[in-house]
Amino acid sequence: MSKYTLHIYESDTGGQLLNVPASYCESLSLAWDMHGSADLTASLAVPRRTAYALYDRPATPRVTVAYCGSPIWAGRLEKPKITTGRLDIIAGGYWRAIDDRPYTALWSTQSLDQFYILDSSISSTYVPDMYNMSQDAGLLFSLKKNAVYPSGSAIAAFYITTPAGMSRTTIKRYLGTYSAKLPVGWTLDVQGQTAASDTTPFGPSIPSATIHAGTGLVVSSTFDVSPAGTVNTLLFRLYNNSGAPYTNTTEDGNFYVRITSVRVQGTASAQVRLSDIAADVAANLPDQIAGTASIWSTSFDQYEALYEDQRMADTLADMADKEQYQIGINLQRRMFLWPIGTFAQDWSIEAEDLAIERDLNQVYNANYATYQNTAGRILRTTRTTNAAAVLRWGITRQGVLETDMQNSTAAATLAAAELAESINPQPRTRIPVSRVMTKQGQTAPWHAIRPGDNVTIRSLPATVATADRVRTFQPARVQLDLERGSAPALSLETSTPLPAIDLILAQVAGGRIFI
């Protein structure tokens, strides 16, 4: 047996506040979630003078809970509250520090909404009125009938620019597909500009990359360019490059360029991955994050990853969840990211009470995803059905995963992940635990269970044929409540399904299973 002790420090790296010894602590509630240490509340019988000293610290104190002299929970003091003869504190795990500053970065975008037509007010070289231009179905340029286009000027251009105040990268790569029919002597190119688009005149140009030189014929092809230099603005330009004025005698739209599936990246990598984004957030954002612990490479290509003034904690959590990864901050204030269950331990518990609720309306045993083509039209992936789940529930409930992606494969991947989660409904339960054991039945410390571990409830009816499958779940949150004079109270909250547990309990209640 060992006891839990509460310790408070001046700051993340400062000394211990020795005037707030562990013996002052009257009650303590600490929790972990999938992101590491979650929240902590404590009540301390502290002399008022000491309480005020803690209330008015010049830095943000660090709070730890130790077991066997070693930290098992770490976070920052967020809310001290002084009452008569008592100091109540609320502390939060360092995952919250991710949200301390907003994050602005361009990693990848396929959104046509990010493109604008460059008009003459920015540069007189650009004369969009001499062209038909739209973003309805890709980036579309076409020449107007009877218009006279001087050589090297009267350019048409769509541009995209990086967010102002971006914390990390410039445009490192752009790619897409085009279909073009241009007169001989006409050029479609892409030019980079160091300056942002709202700066006139533009700063030094990055050498342009010719995408297509007109031949008078219809040509379809792709482009994939990693520009050198510092590119903050990218211009897709169409212009007469023949050396002489060109008069278009054909109908409007006869000569055109349509660029589709255009993607602009803030990295030259073939993929934009959560693991890269997470590491960048850890490195560039919060004061209290010391770096990365283990960032395992993710595989899913994040097509839409453009952040402007974004609080990233929920964003990163959602992205990780979709890929079935776990992201968080460890006790050393370092970020980790790895597949859920990679380091999961197996535990057994004796549950004091089970009150579980599951809603059929949350069940989906078939689904599909929506995505968009470059014209913004909503498309749908192939409908996928989990036959076993349909058989089990007796009905088919089809879910829809709405995405803003332009990649059907990626959307389908997400839909598959969503389906895997939704074939069993999410039980809403909090399980009070009376004993924690190893899988082999040996007593384990109260705090041993971590979210994501595999926990087996031993006190469910033994007559249930599929008991082992039914009884094992992964808690999403673990909370340990400690109070002087009382035994510890542990409770587990679930997120991933407890298959059919409500059905079994209903059967028990209905007398079909005798226990």
Binding site: K3, T5, C68, G69, Q345, Q442, T443, A448, L482
Partner: protein, 473 residues
């Protein structure tokens, strides 16, 4: 009162014997002494027994009315003083209550407050200068404590299990423990990295496994010779791939482990050799039934940037494992993982197994977060854990001179209410030299504490016990 010779309230200056027969008398059937109960606290810092409240009926009298009232006021003031002290007023001295059973030495407990209530016949009895049947309520610490015994010493190096033989006493008794630290002749001195102190009432509760015994001989885990390392060698971790878990060789458990069922905390003494990458470790125990108990991966602390001299030694809690009573351990192993591949990522000097129980205490002095005073040109420097059961509301960890001067509190983690029970106080000190405080300091001794001359430091551990009693004897 037969059996009780005296019952004295005192703050060290003013002492009131509630049985002196001059101003005070304990009434017949006026007191049922309380017996403290073992508490159910899972939060540390207050010892193993609950506080109790005594209720006594006493008579207060004097030769004159003024003398009677003065006697009454004296009690009231001491109770008020005790309450002030318990509320954190350090400008007043603590108050104790001491009981002396016939034929025995006095036993004391700290008073946390109380009250004195006059009886209903107060006005009537003042005509004879007596308060007859006043109700005295005293809140006190649960355990009665004997006077401090003489210090008993032993010596040991860091990483070596030591023990001190004591006269047998069945009840947990608070211990004040000093241990000496090296002295340097240069003013810039040095400081420790994390220190770990395990104390228990049996040497069988503290077991050690050499890190190098887990080395496979080549490849990921090798044995590396390091001066002053325990056993002369260490276990060196050199992962081929990042973010990949590698396991050491499985070796037989330390003698005594498989025959000692219960909860064991396991610590690794070593270091991750970087300020940037992260090493994580876990323990695997295989039972005879082929079942494997794993502890969760634990990250090694990185060296904080404020430290010079690179990496630092830490005592990492790998986890707590429960050894079954109806099974036995066949072998143990370590699992480690780094987010950076390459040679010499981490080193483990040795593992410490500590059997947990009410009289096993684990405390760390975490200078990863709390830079303690440097150790300079001063002889007789000690570190101390003092439960201070009669002199303060809270225990303390300190560093300072052995003569008690120039002490200062130091940061720690764990429960400082250390106790001993039975005939033995055993312990192990896991510590290594830290970085120098200035250019003149020294920082040798990567895995165990050495003197300035580079010789393994032999620490003197000195224990002072106050025997504890639930029932005064």
């Amino acid at each position: 009162m037969a059996g009780i010779d005296s019952l004295i309230l005192s703050d060290g200056t003013t002492s009131i014997n509630l049985m002196d027969g001059v101003n005070y008398a304990l009434r017949t059937e006026g007191w049922a002494p309380q017996i403290a109960q073992r508490n159910h606290d899972s939060i540390g810092g207050r010892g193993q027994y609950d506080d109790v409240t005594e209720s006594l009926l006493i008579d207060i009298f004097g030769a004159t009315l003024a003398a009677m009232l003065a006697a009454e006021v004296a009690i009231s003031r001491l109770l008020d003083q005790a309450t002030r002290f318990a509320n954190g007023d350090t400008t007043v001295s603590p108050v104790t209550i001491a009981i002396t059973m016939t034929g025995s030495a006095a036993l004391s407990a700290m008073v946390l407050g109380g009250s004195l209530a006059r009886p209903a016949n107060f006005a009537d009895r003042t005509v004879v200068n007596e308060i007859e049947g006043a109700t005295l309520t005293i809140d006190r610490r649960g355990q009665w404590l004997a006077a401090a015994e003489a210090a008993i010493n032993t010596t040991a190096t860091a990483g070596q299990v030591w023990s001190i033989a004591m006269s047998n006493h069945a009840e947990p008794s608070p211990i004040t423990l000093d241990w000496s630290i090296p002295v340097t002749t240069v003013v810039d001195g040095y400081q420790f990295y994390t220190q770990l102190l395990v104390l228990s009432n049996s040497i069988n509760n503290i077991l050690v496994v050499e890190g190098e015994s887990l080395a496979s001989g080549a490849g990921i885990y090798t044995s590396g010779a390091v001066a002053n390392a325990r056993g002369g060698n260490t276990l060196v971790f050199s992962p081929t791939l990042a973010d990949t878990r590698y396991y050491t060789d499985s070796v037989a458990p330390p003698a005594g482990l498989s025959s000692s069922p219960g909860d064991w905390a396991v610590f690794a003494s070593g270091q991750g050799l970087s300020t940037s990458w992260t090493i994580q470790s876990q323990l695997l125990i295989t039972l005879n039934t082929a079942q494997v108990i794993q502890t969760p991966l634990q990250p090694w602390p990185n060296t904080p940037p404020s430290y010079s001299g690179g990496s630092g030694n830490h005592a990492l809690l790998l986890g707590v494992v429960s050894i079954p009573s109806d099974d036995a351990i066949s072998n143990i192993a370590l699992g480690m993982m780094s987010n950076s591949a390459g040679a010499n990522k981490a080193v483990v000097d040795y593992l410490v197994f500590a059997r947990l129980g009410p009289d096993t205490h684990v405390i760390t002095f975490d200078q990863y977060l709390d830079i303690s005073p440097g150790f300079g040109n001063v002889a007789g420097m000690v570190e101390r854990i003092d439960p201070r059961p009669l002199s303060a509301l809270t225990p303390v960890a300190q560093i300072g001179r052995s003569d008690g001067t120039k002490r200062t509190a130091i940061g720690h983690q764990g429960d400082l209410m250390i106790t001993q029970r039975g005939t033995t106080l055993a312990g192990i000190w896991v510590a290594a030299n830290g970085p120098r405080l200035g250019t003149g300091g020294y920082s040798g001794g990567a895995y165990r504490v050495v003197s300035q001359a580079g010789v393994l430091h032999t620490a003197t551990f000195s224990a002072v016990r106050r025997k504890g009693y639930q029932v005064p004897q």
